[in-house]
Amino acid sequence: MKLNKFRKKSPWILHYNTGGCNGCDIEILASLAPKYDIERFGALNKGNPKQADILLVTGPVTKRCKDVLRRLYLQMPEPKVVVAMGACGHGGGVFRNFYHVENGVDNIIPVDVWIPGCAPRPEALIDGIVEAIEILQTKSKEKEYIRNHNEIIDKLGAKDD
């Protein structure tokens, strides 16, 4: 049995705001609410990288958020897709080239789907997620690496007590 067709039916979402204006985040909330109800597609807002398939990133990635974003990405098991929501996620949107901004999600972790808009409507988010699960289906279980993977892993190391 080909299991990867089920990926399409149960996309679990991890959401992280990397410093956007919150506009996108409240639209994510709205899409959980009765009117849009993305649970229809089996999508859940898991809030936990370990069990998520889709990393939904909003915001332009400020300098302080980027390590958090990397960590979350690295903690997600493959196959995974990254959806950058809003203009911020693509090149930083209105915050493009600000001094404390990394200009979009793709500069930190590889993005698969960009949802345009500022803020995108929940419909656009749903479209984006539909797109994302199509991509999810074609992905393999191989480990994905981010740029300068090993260096970054060293940098992110956790402390023990």
Binding site: K9, G42, G47, K50, Q51, D160
Partner: protein, 276 residues
């Protein structure tokens, strides 16, 4: 025979119950909700994920939790002693808690500790319930209870009521979804599991549904229609409760269980004992 079948297909059955529950919950929130087979979609998807673990002990405990849950159900349905089944349930909790505490994640650790608080809230009551069944039917044997010609529900209404409020504790439903507390500790004990290993914990929960509803069914005695009715009623009631309450603190849960539910159950037992 039917017991054996239920035991073997418990995960499937539980998955269905869980799926129905998700729909019902969505409807209560005036949403459409996922399809009925959603839990199975989740299941197969999780199968297909790359395995990420914290360490082997932790992952193993997830699997042991599933096995222990299943075995507990087998003990309940195939053995003949309610009491033993109640005690067996602790093993499942053990696996879950050890797993949860074995990782250095505060959420998981807190989840494990809160799980213990759940246990302290429902375990004594389960024992009392088993005892009250014994009192009425003269046996701990599930088969005897199911052939008991009477209506246990009418003789132990308070116990049933107490059990009704204990179910949210066992199934992690609001107001007692304390160990899972999605908005506080993001799933608690299960937070660090992922992929195939999470699946074990996930399906373990489904079996718990069957385990709990078996007890509800027993309240019908040999009137199976009543048993089924009770199961449906309980199912709807628990979900309504889930949707109309905020999550309480674990202290409140323990206090509620100890100062309200257990006395109620004891009262009922005393009344039956004196009545006889």
């Amino acid at each position: 025979m039917i017991n054996l079948l239920i035991t073997i297909f418990a995960p499937v059955l539980g998955g269905f119950v869980f799926g129905i529950e998700r729909i019902i919950k969505a409807r209560m929130q005036s949403r459409i909700g996922p399809p009925v087979l959603q839990p199975f979609y989740d299941f197969f998807k999780l199968m297909d994920k790359r395995a990420y673990i914290i360490h082997s002990l932790h992952a193993l405990m997830g699997i042991m939790y599933f096995i222990a849950e299943w075995f507990t159900l087998a003990v309940l349905l195939l053995g003949n002693d309610l009491l033993i089944a109640v005690f067996f349930h602790v093993i499942a909790v053990l696996a879950l808690v050890i797993g949860a505490s074995s990782v250095r994640s505060p959420y998981s650790v807190l989840g494990g500790l809160r799980e213990l608080m759940h246990m302290i809230s429902y375990e004594p009551l389960m024992v009392l319930m088993a005892v009250s069944f014994y009192l009425i039917t003269g046996s701990f044997d599930i088969k005897t209870i199911l052939s008991f010609n009477g209506y246990p529900i009418f003789q132990m209404p308070l116990v049933f009521f107490a059990f009704l409020l204990v179910i949210p504790m066992m199934l992690q439903k609001s107001p007692f979804d304390i160990a899972e507390a999605h908005q506080e500790i993001i799933g608690g004990p299960e937070i660090e599991y992922s992929g195939p290993f999470y699946e074990a914990v996930y399906t373990g929960k489904w079996i718990e549904y069957i385990y709990v509803f078996t007890f509800v069914f027993l309240f019908g005695g040999n009137h199976y229609w009543l048993g089924i009715l009770l199961v449906i009623f309980t199912f709807i009631f628990v979900n309504l409760l889930d949707n109309s309450t905020a999550r309480l603190d674990y202290r409140k849960m323990v206090k509620f269980s100890w100062f309200v539910l257990i006395p109620l159950a004891v009262l009922n037992i005393i009344l039956i004992a004196m009545w006889r």
